[in-house]
């Protein structure tokens, strides 16, 4: 095992970590704004990948170009999920809230199973087998684009939260719902927007990974579990922490797998996850 292999795996890890970071930010946004875990998050991503696949199969659309369509449709799906499901259980016990998104997870997964069967599918992409060489490092062009796209999407989201009137209102609702209401900020409307944005992030991620990943009804797990680990690592509800956590998890996943055995890479992710929770229950950047 040479230093070059390690470096190569760290780079690959960062590429994967970029996507996990975007996923983690999407999960963290909902958690931060309304203290709710969306267990169905990976399934949104899976459905976005199917959307990309069928846009390719029916209209010959290059997977990456499905990005704006995915973002728009998933935004609507997220906002609708809030209005139809989440809003109803918001005043209920915490278990009702957890079970509602868990139920959604089961529903979305097995609906896909029923409709699309458990086969692996992949839309053909110009990026599929392209390799970019940088110094001595080799990177898959698809992964590089996914990494860059995730960074851009996350950056855009951070800018939105920091600088726009609606973004500030979202942060206000996250920090003190009642105080926000006293200023005329209607939490219900902001929750709906948060769900839309969060699901749109899954839509973007779905497009970005489609050039180099197969889609099947179980593919959400690839993102959901590392995404949760990244959220915990970054401090629940802290979107910046979730982003950093995503990069860390990506490197642990890929580099850890390379240094030991690929089979244990998820175990390593959870080892780090548990170690952090053990030492810092609020996460590395928790408040």
């Amino acid at each position: 095992m040479t230093a070059e292999i390690v470096l190569q795996s760290v780079v690959s890890g960062l590429m994967f970590g970029g996507v996990i970071a975007l996923v983690a930010v999407g999960i963290s946004l909902i958690w931060g704004v309304m203290d709710l875990i969306n267990f169905a998050y990976g399934e949104y991503l899976m459905w976005a990948m199917y959307l990309t696949f069928f846009l390719s199969a029916s209209a010959g659309l290059e997977p990456l170009l499905s990005l704006p369509i995915n973002a728009a449709i998933l935004f609507g799906a997220g906002a609708l999920t809030y209005r139809l499901v989440v809003r109803r259980v918001l005043r209920g016990p915490i278990f009702a809230q957890l079970l509602s998104t868990f139920g959604l997870f089961v529903l979305l997964r097995y609906a896909a199973w029923l409709l699309f069967r458990p086969d692996d599918r992949q839309a053909p992409s110009a990026l599929a087998n392209a390799i970019v060489k940088l110094g001595g490092l080799r990177m898959s062009a698809g992964e590089l684009v996914a990494f860059a796209g995730s960074l851009l999407a996350t950056g855009a989201l951070f800018w939105f939260l920091k600088s726009t009137r609606t973004g500030k209102a979202l942060r206000a609702v996250a920090q003190d719902r009642e105080a926000a209401l006293a200023l005329g900020i209607e939490p219900d409307r902001l929750y709906s927007i948060a769900w839309g944005i969060s699901a749109a992030a899954a839509g973007v991620a779905g497009s970005l990974v489609s050039p180099f990943m197969y889609v099947n009804p179980l593919v959400g797990d690839v993102f959901l579990l590392p995404g949760f680990a990244a959220v915990a690592l970054g401090g629940f509800g802290n979107v910046y922490g979730a982003f950093a956590g995503g990069l860390v998890i990506g490197v642990v996943n890929v580099t850890g797998g390379t240094l030991t055995m690929p089979k244990v890479k998820l175990a390593l992710v959870y080892l780090v996850f548990l170690a952090v929770l053990f030492m810092r229950p609020k996460g590395l950047w928790g408040r």
Binding site: R171, D176, L181, A182, L183, G184
Partner: protein, 261 residues
């Protein structure tokens, strides 16, 4: 003439507990009115009910003649009713500037809002120096000033202040009362709940005394101060300002806090 605010026989309930049991009060435009009474009397609940955080079970609340009972806070804000709650209501991880900007949320994005933010900052020089810092770093008095400043950005006709000086040092209290008087002088009508009855009566034009969810006394500040009955029964005749402050922060008889929730 129609009063700016007319509260008539308002009843309100938390769970199964009747907190307001027939409160009535009238406030004319431009007045500074204090609401006094022992812990658990329903003072904070009254403000919450007027501000739309708790729908009244019975009774009417009219703003310049229009019924507003049961409207939600955003609708009330649109009519000019602003509310500064008893507990700290700042967004701790946002800057002073951002907190102020959110005060103007309902007014949208405009150059006018930016000018008004600067105007409020000019009113509170201590906040202006630190406008880029997070609100969590402010002292108790500065927090209160920021909250009051933020409420001013809502351009209220009626400003509801729930214990604006609770937990503050006497010097800072004086500063806050000065600001409240300035705000009133600028044309706003103010209703203020105060634990510190003596000071509140000195500052205000008129006061209402609540007890057990009902209006028990009403009058000009100096008259209530002079009334031996009122003093003994509702103000606590032995309590000077300092003691009243401590009292306000302590646990309450009824377990409702100063009906702060």
């Amino acid at each position: 003439m129609t009063p700016l605010l007319a509260v008539e026989d308002v009843h309100a309930t938390y769970g199964t507990f009747d907190v307001l049991r027939g409160v009535s009060l009238r406030v004319e435009a431009g007045e500074l009115v204090a609401v006094l009474g022992p812990n658990g009397a329903g003072k904070s609940t009254l403000l919450k009910t007027i501000a739309g955080f708790l729908p009244p079970r019975r009774g009417s609340i009219r703003l310049a003649g229009d019924e507003i009972a049961g409207l939600r806070p955003p609708a009330l804000l649109a009519r000019g009713v602003a509310y500064v709650m008893q507990r700290s209501s700042l967004f701790p991880r946002m800057t002073i500037q951002e907190n102020l900007e959110l005060g103007a949320y309902i007014r949208g994005n405009s150059g006018e809002v930016r000018r008004d933010v600067d105007r409020v900052l000019a009113l509170f020089p201590r906040l202006a120096e630190r406008r880029r810092q997070r609100a969590e770093g402010l002292s108790g008095g500065e927090r209160r000033m920021l909250e009051i400043g933020r409420a001013l950005l809502l351009e209220p006709r009626l400003l509801l202040l729930d214990e604006p000086t609770m937990g503050l040092a006497p010097v800072v209290m004086g500063l806050i009362f000065d600001k409240i008087r300035e705000i009133r002088a600028a044309g706003a009508t103010v209703i203020m709940v105060e634990q510190n009855a003596r000071v509140a009566l000195e500052v205000s034009d008129r006061a209402y005394v609540l007890e057990q969810g009902q209006t028990r006394a009403e009058g000009r500040g100096e008259d209530l101060l002079a009334s031996e009955t009122v003093r003994r029964a509702y103000l606590g005749s032995a309590s000077g300002p300092e003691r009243a402050i401590q009292h306000g922060g302590g646990p309450s008889v009824t377990g409702l806090g100063t009906t702060g929730r």
